[in-house]
């Protein structure tokens, strides 16, 4: 019995090491554009440091959501390697953590005022925009858009 199991164990260790090596060599970066957007029916407030949203994204949001105006609070481009994660501070209250799970997809954690609000696991790699959104005070809304940057 021991003679039977020994080659199997050795083979398993060898295969495990080989796969680990291959993964570390072929690990690739995935690039994203993250943006925090505020949606409202009101006009742009003077005091707030808000930027106009690019027309394409604005039209996409307007076709899905009811709000008339969308302003960009912050946006960042970042890369995250396979099996690594990046945490982005989008505003004083909003943080997003993106974990690249490689073939298993992505895991995104949304933090509000330091507390975990939502954890999402997408089974496949993100090939299109992922929008996390919710309603805010005064009938407004917030949107966190994660869009893959294609070469």
């Amino acid at each position: 019995m021991r003679q039977l199991l020994r080659p199997s164990i050795i083979f398993s260790i060898f295969a495990f090491s080989l796969a680990a090596f291959a993964q570390s060599v072929f690990a690739t970066d995935t690039a994203f554009h993250a943006s925090l957007i505020w949606g409202t029916d009101e006009m742009k407030p003077d005091k707030k440091d808000l930027r106009e949203l690019d027309p394409k994204t604005k039209e996409k949001l307007k076709s899905i959501f009811k709000w008339k105006n969308y302003f960009e609070v912050d946006s960042q481009d970042f890369k995250v390697s396979t099996n690594e994660f990046r945490k982005l501070k989008m505003s004083s209250k909003c943080e997003v953590e993106v974990h690249n799970l490689g073939k298993d997809g992505m895991e995104i954690k949304l933090f509000g005022e330091g507390k975990l609000v939502k954890k999402i696991k997408q089974q496949t790699p993100i090939l299109e925009s992922l929008v996390l959104a919710g309603d805010d005070i005064n009938s407004s809304a917030w949107f966190v858009i994660l869009a893959p940057i294609t070469k």
Partner: protein
């Protein structure tokens, strides 16, 4: 005899069929041959002198006849005993087979099976590169981060996809 009146729904404007429940039950029992000979004689005499009772008796007889004729006879495809005997035979056929299988398998084969299955799972995980847990431990330095399994559509959040805009939206209502 008629102190307490029962008014059935078949009562007409002339006030016929005015009988109490006991009388109606007694009449029904008479029509079903469920009374003694003395009671039968008494009821027959009552029917002869009371037109209301005769009318009710006719109605009850008619209802009984209609129910007997209108009820569709359903024949079971097989008797209950035969149905259960088939189940018993099925169980009896399965049980000895599993006993034989257990008794024929040697002890080492019973151990080798789970071991081989576990090894296959490990190899599959290795082959697919699903060992990020170990990598994450070294990066994050804690086991708390290794909670990766959570559905996107759990309670409270709404997930939908806009094909036209190429966007997947997870809507998180306020208060979460």
């Amino acid at each position: 005899m008629r102190a307490e009146k029962w008014r059935p729904c078949s009562q007409d404007s002339s006030g016929r069929n005015n009988m109490n429940i006991d009388q109606t039950v007694k009449l029904q029992a008479y029509l079903d041959n469920e009374v003694s000979s003395a009671e039968a004689r008494e009821t027959a005499a009552w029917l002869a002198r009371d037109p209301d009772a005769r009318q009710l008796a006719e109605e009850l007889t008619l209802v009984k006849k209609l129910m007997a004729e209108g009820e569709v006879a359903v024949k079971l495809p097989e008797s209950r005993e035969f149905h259960w005997s088939k189940i018993q035979r099925g169980i009896a056929q399965v049980e000895p087979r599993s006993e034989v299988r257990r008794s024929r398998a040697p002890w080492w084969a019973r151990i080798l099976g789970p071991v081989a299955a576990a090894a296959a799972v490990v190899l599959l995980m290795v082959a697919s590169g699903s060992f990020d847990v170990f990598r994450l431990k070294s990066v994050a330095g804690g086991a708390q981060e290794i909670e990766t399994e959570e559905p996107t559509d759990d309670s409270g959040a709404i997930t939908f996809r806009s094909h036209r805009e190429g966007m997947t939206v997870v809507w998180i209502p306020s208060g979460r």
